[in-house]
Each structure stands twice: as structure tokens, then as C-alpha cells.
């Protein structure tokens, strides 16, 4: 791994500046950079502290029950967020599972197989997809995708499932195009361009010599991809996946439109569910007292989940580095 990391800029000797201006400007520049970095840290700390303070009334009242209990009742002021937490994890995982192979395919095609003429066009299209606001995905999901999905995927799957089988349980719910699976598919479409664009950039960093040597040794395209370029960018690829996962975990509006917004545990793929972000977006406007506190505590849970995901990515990278 480490031998393959050839950096063209670092090997160039840094130009030494002898003018006296450097002495006055360098400390200022350094100071500005330092201030920028510390502001970021302070903002992060501030968010964490304010989430803790805001969520404390709910967290101290419900304790661990806040994350294990699935009753969310604003009238009786009982808040258990297990439903939204499970919904968040399931939809993000399903979205990643669906988006990753496609994103990989798009990136490999663009870098390895695509004719030069098409490369720019498809590349720009991928970047444009990444720029579509999430509310547009949500509305498209509810008004265009859901009716189609209900008629051509959900209903056939439900009717074809044998009574009493596992498939019947998996495909239970209301076949109207909304629910856990529909939300996951919309999420997958949303994170796809991010992951594809990042993976493409990564694959382009593979030096042509490495690839050409592999071809020279008689490797097929498939072998080059699997044994040379993929291992070369593996570390960066984990970063790209985490970026997609991060977006899937925190996506709000698109999910709110299509997931069905039920706080109970989803019983099947077509059942309605909710995610942390959709719950906060739906209820924060009108919430007060303990409900507002519970929603802020939900925000803290999402923060911690995202943090855990990033930590996991770091851990994977460290293990990679040791190999």
C-alpha cells in the first residue's frame, strides 16, 4: 500500500522565499489558519454541549429507556426513540447496500471503459445529480416514484409471497409506495452521485503506469479493477462510503415525504417507519417542553451515531495502514 503512494507535489523541492515580507505575513497567515481550525472545533464542541443541555430533561427522565423504548406519545409526554433510531439505521444501511455497487460501477466505467467523448458528459451528469435539492427528491418520490413502486413492485411482491413464509413477513405493510424500502431506495438514489463522483476522483489518482503494467502482464479489465486499482484506492473508498452513509443517516426532507412517519417499529419492508431526522423535522416546529427536549436528545443520538460511523471508518483506515 504505502509504496504505491506517489505524490508529485511533495517530491518537488519547496521554494524558499528570501524576501522579508515572509517574516511578517507568515505568522499572520498561520494565525488565520489556526483560528479557522479552532473555530471549527469550538463550533463542534458548542453543538455537542447545547444538544446535551437541551436534551437533558428528556434524557434524565427516561434514561436508557429513551433509546430502548418504542413509545412516542406527545400527549402523555412519554418519549422512547427506538423506532426512529432503528428506522435510521435500517434505511441508511439498505441505501448504502443498494447504492455502493452502482456507484462503483459508474466510477469504474467512467475511468476504465468509457470512450473519451462520453466521459465528460456522464461525469457532469453525475455531478449535477449531486446538486439536486433533497426536497425535490422527496416530492418526486411521493408523487412519481411511490405510485409506480406500489403498482409494479410492492403489490406483485406481496401477492406472490406464500402465506406464512418469511417473504410474506418481509413484504408486509401497506402497498401504497411509501415505507421503509421506498425511503431506502430514494436515499440510495440521493447518495449515489456523491459516492460515484468521489470514487471516480479516487480512481483517477491511480497512476497510469501501475494500471498499464498490469495490462502489460496480461491482466483482464476485471482483474485490473479488482486486483490493482481497487486495492490502490481502498482507503479513500472507505471515506467515500462513509460520506454517503453520513448523508443517508442525516437526510431529512426526502425521507419525511416517503417513509410514512410512524414511530412504531417497522414490521416489514413496506411498513411505515420514521428516522431521527424526519421525526425532528416533523415535530420541532410545534413542540414545547419535554417534547422539544426529547427531540433535541434525538439530535444528540444522531450526532453520536454519526460520530460512531466516523470512528469506525478511522478504525478501518488504521487497520488498513498497518497491513
Amino acid at each position: 500500500m504505502s509504496t504505491a503512494e506517489i505524490s508529485t507535489t511533495a517530491s518537488r523541492p519547496a521554494p524558499r522565499r528570501s524576501s522579508p515580507r515572509g517574516k511578517t505575513f507568515d505568522p499572520i497567515f498561520e494565525g488565520l489558519c489556526f483560528a479557522a481550525a479552532t473555530t471549527l472545533l469550538a463550533a463542534l464542541g458548542g453543538v455537542l454541549v447545547s444538544l446535551l443541555i437541551g436534551g437533558w430533561p428528556a434524557l434524565s427522565k427516561f434514561g436508557l429507556g429513551f433509546v430502548t423504548n418504542a413509545t412516542w406519545d406527545p400527549v402523555k409526554d412519554v418519549y422512547g426513540a427506538a423506532g426512529p433510531i432503528v428506522g435510521t439505521l435500517i434505511t441508511a444501511a439498505l441505501a448504502l447496500l443498494m447504492a455502493l455497487p452502482v456507484a462503483g460501477g459508474v466510477a469504474f466505467f467512467l475511468v476504465e471503459l468509457c470512450p473519451q467523448v462520453l466521459r465528460r458528459t456522464i461525469g457532469t451528469a453525475v455531478e449535477l445529480l449531486a446538486g439536486i435539492p433533497s426536497i425535490v427528491y422527496g416530492m418526486w418520490g411521493l408523487f412519481v416514484f411511490a405510485p409506480y413502486f406500489a403498482a409494479h413492485v410492492e403489490t406483485p411482491l406481496m401477492t406472490s409471497a406464500a402465506p406464512g413464509s418469511f417473504a410474506e413477513k418481509l413484504f408486509s405493510g401497506i402497498p401504497n409506495g411509501t415505507g421503509i424500502l421506498a425511503a431506502s431506495i430514494i436515499l440510495a438514489i440521493m447518495i449515489l452521485p456523491f459516492m460515484a463522483a468521489t470514487l471516480r476522483e479516487l480512481l483517477m489518482t491511480v497512476p497510469p503506469q501501475v494500471r498499464e503494467s498490469a495490462y502489460g502482464l496480461g491482466a483482464t479489465t476485471g482483474e485490473v479493477v479488482m486486483k490493482v486499482t481497487l486495492p490502490y484506492v481502498r482507503r479513500g473508498a472507505i471515506g467515500a462510503v462513509m460520506l454517503g452513509l453520513g448523508r443517508a443517516l442525516g437526510e431529512t426532507m426526502a425521507v419525511t415525504f416517503i417513509i410514512g412517519n410512524s414511530h412504531a417499529f417497522p414490521k416489514g419492508l413496506f411498513d411505515a417507519g420514521s428516522t431521527i431526522a424526519s421525526t425532528i423535522a416533523s415535530e420541532f416546529n410545534e413542540a414545547s417542553g419535554l417534547q422539544a427536549s426529547a427531540l433535541i436528545a434525538l439530535g444528540l443520538v444522531l450526532f453520536l451515531i454519526t460520530f460512531a460511523v466516523l470512528a469506525m471508518a478511522r478504525l478501518l483506515l488504521r487497520n488498513q495502514a498497518r497491513v
Binding site: 411521493l142 416546529n285 433535541i296
Partner: protein, 347 residues
């Protein structure tokens, strides 16, 4: 999540500029309910053309409106959910209604036209509790003789966001069915026993339209403009009525505003043969003691103008204006809103 603090800041900035410019041209600021926002915007537009006064209204939701007026960042708050008299006293607030609207059960039953299905509050509560699961249930059939009810599962659709519409709807169900009152209860958002949630009126309407056998509830204006299949509701007098402006007006006219301190009145299940049972007014909240008499005057002048001149504007947007006797009653209560000198700000 950041929405409320952001809006608080915006409202604060708006309020700050208001204080600076109030002497030059009347600028009043308000925040709150989204339901009456279109009619307030229309009023503000016409009022500005006539008087030059500017109204800044932020449709941030009823809960936000109550928070903002309590924090004193706006000149008036707006809420679909009236504050109880003790809450009004605690906040030093006055409350009065502006326009009336209604909540309408809508359905998606192929082959059955709007207004063919008869509903009672009890039936609705049982459907929303998941006790009645099929459209051809004998209890539904009891009220719908002669209608070919399909053998379809009922899909319950509700709002996913906290809303005044949900508050009215669940308050009505709680009044009609003890099981609902003891179970999910009445609030902006409740722990729904069954069903799926859509964001805002559009979300509920879209889910109902896309799901065969679905039932949902939306604001009247929304049901009308989208030609949705509504149900006839049984009112307190036992009659089945269709949702329309006259039925909401009848509910408002029959209500006992005089004996409601702080106009705390839900207009649900009001007497009268023509009254629509799920009717509600939307409210304005103002501080009883205004720190700036001129601002208080400007706000009340705006609503006085609206009461006098804008029934047409309200009706064109499918809101129902208050009955004239109620307006007269409200005008009298404005005498309680006083400036720093203790004198009424508007008379």
C-alpha cells in the same frame, strides 16, 4: 432542528427594525399559525395599498407563534389552538379569533362519489384507533344503507408534523369517543395507534389519493381546491352535513362566544342543524399591556380594517369570516389592550 432559533433571530431582527421605523411608517410584525397565513398575506397586501402600513407575517406554526409573543419578539402571535384563560393570564395576553375554517375527512374509494359516505365522530375514532379495519364493516354499513361499500382494508392517513389541524381533529375524536380520549388523546401530534403520516396537508392529500381505501383529514380549503372525496359528518343535532362555508359559519354563529373567557372556544360539535362538527377558529395573541401604544394601535387598526373590509378576500381563499355579532364582541374586548399609560391603545 435549527429552525426555531433561526426564526427567532429573524423575528428579533424584524422586531428590532420595527421599533426603529415605527414612527416613520407603520410596520407591524406577527408570527405563528400557517393555516391563516394565505389570508393574512392577502389582507396585508390590500391594506398596504390602502394605508401604506406594512405587515410582516412569519408563518412558523402555532407553537412558534405562542413562543414568539411570549418572548416579545413580535407585535402579535397567531395560533390555531386557543390558549386557555389561565395561560393567557400567566403570559399577560389577550386573544381574539380572526377567521374560521374546518377539518374535513377525505377518502379514496373507487366508484363512490364525494358526499356519499356518512360518518359519525364515533366511527371516525374507531377507524383511527384501528378497531374498524374494513370499509364493509357492519358498523359503517349501518350508517350507509344503499351504498355498495367495498371489501377493502382501511388505510388511515394522518399528519406527520405537529399541526393545529391535528389538534382540532383529535380534540373532536376525544369529545366523541371516550376510548380516544383515554387512548391517544388530543394534541398537535399524538401517538397514532395505526396508519401512516404525511407532511402537511399536501402530504396527507397525496397519500390518500395514491392509496385505494385510504381515509385522511385535511383543511377544508385544501379538500375543496383539490376536489377530494369528502364524507358527510353527523353533527350534534343528528343531521348529516356537507363541509362548506355555510356549515362552518353555522357552527361559529351557534357558539356561545359571550360566555367563553378569552374566547377559548373550539367550535367543535356545536348545536344547530346545519353546523359542521369539526370547525375551528384561528386566533391572534397580543400583550394586554403594550410597551409601545402606537404599535398596539397599528396592529388593532389592521385587524379592525380586516374585519370591516375583507370578507370577500377571506371567502375567495375558502376561509369563513366571523359572524358580525362575534366581530362586535371582539371589538369591545380590544378596550382591554392598553398602553404604558393604562389607556386603551385603540378605540
Amino acid at each position: 432542528m435549527l429552525k426555531t432559533p433561526l426564526f427567532a433571530m429573524i423575528a428579533a431582527v424584524v422586531a428590532a427594525t420595527t421599533i426603529d421605523t415605527v414612527a416613520a411608517a407603520a410596520t407591524i410584525s406577527g408570527a405563528g399559525a400557517t393555516f391563516p397565513a394565505p389570508v393574512y398575506a392577502k389582507w396585508a397586501e390590500t391594506y398596504k395599498a390602502q394605508s401604506g402600513a406594512v405587515l410582516n407575517y412569519q408563518a412558523i406554526g402555532s407553537g412558534g407563534g405562542i413562543k414568539q409573543i411570549n418572548a416579545n419578539t413580535v407585535d402579535f402571535g397567531a395560533s390555531d389552538k386557543p390558549l386557555k384563560p389561565d395561560a393567557l393570564a400567566a403570559g399577560g395576553l389577550q386573544q381574539f379569533p380572526t377567521v374560521i375554517g374546518g377539518v374535513v375527512p377525505v377518502m379514496n374509494l373507487p366508484g363512490i362519489q364525494a358526499g356519499r359516505i356518512h360518518m359519525t365522530g364515533r366511527l371516525l375514532a374507531d377507524i383511527y384507533r384501528g378497531l374498524i379495519k374494513k370499509w364493509n364493516d357492519p358498523i359503517i354499513a349501518l350508517y350507509n344503507k344503499g351504498v355498495a361499500l367495498p371489501n377493502l382494508p382501511i388505510t388511515v392517513v394522518h399528519r406527520s408534523d405537529g399541526s393545529g389541524t391535528t389538534f382540532l381533529f383529535t380534540s373532536y375524536l376525544a369529545m366523541q369517543a371516550p376510548g380516544w380520549a383515554a387512548g391517544p388523546g388530543a394534541s398537535d401530534s399524538v401517538n397514532w395507534p395505526v396508519g401512516i403520516g404525511g407532511p402537511k396537508n399536501d402530504g396527507v392529500a397525496a397519500l390518500v389519493k395514491q392509496t385505494v381505501g385510504a381515509i385522511g383529514y385535511v383543511e377544508y380549503a385544501y379538500a375543496k381546491q383539490n376536489h377530494m372525496d369528502y364524507a358527510l359528518m353527523q353533527n350534534k343535532a343528528g343531521a348529516f352535513v356537507a363541509p362548506n362555508a355555510a356549515a362552518f359559519g353555522a357552527a361559529a354563529a351557534g357558539a356561545k362566544w359571550q360566555s367563553a373567557p378569552g374566547y377559548y372556544l373550539l367550535l367543535l360539535d356545536q348545536p344547530g342543524l346545519k353546523s359542521w362538527p369539526i370547525t375551528g377558529a384561528t386566533f391572534i395573541l397580543m400583550h394586554t399591556k403594550q410597551t409601545n401604544a402606537q404599535t398596539g394601535h397599528d396592529v388593532l387598526a389592521f385587524f379592525d380594517w380586516a374585519y370591516k373590509n375583507s370578507n370577500g378576500a377571506a371567502e375567495s381563499l375558502d376561509y369563513v369570516p366571523l359572524p358580525e355579532p362575534v366581530k362586535a364582541l371582539v371589538r369591545k374586548s380590544w378596550m382591554k389592550i392598553v398602553g404604558p399609560d393604562g389607556k386603551p391603545v385603540y378605540h
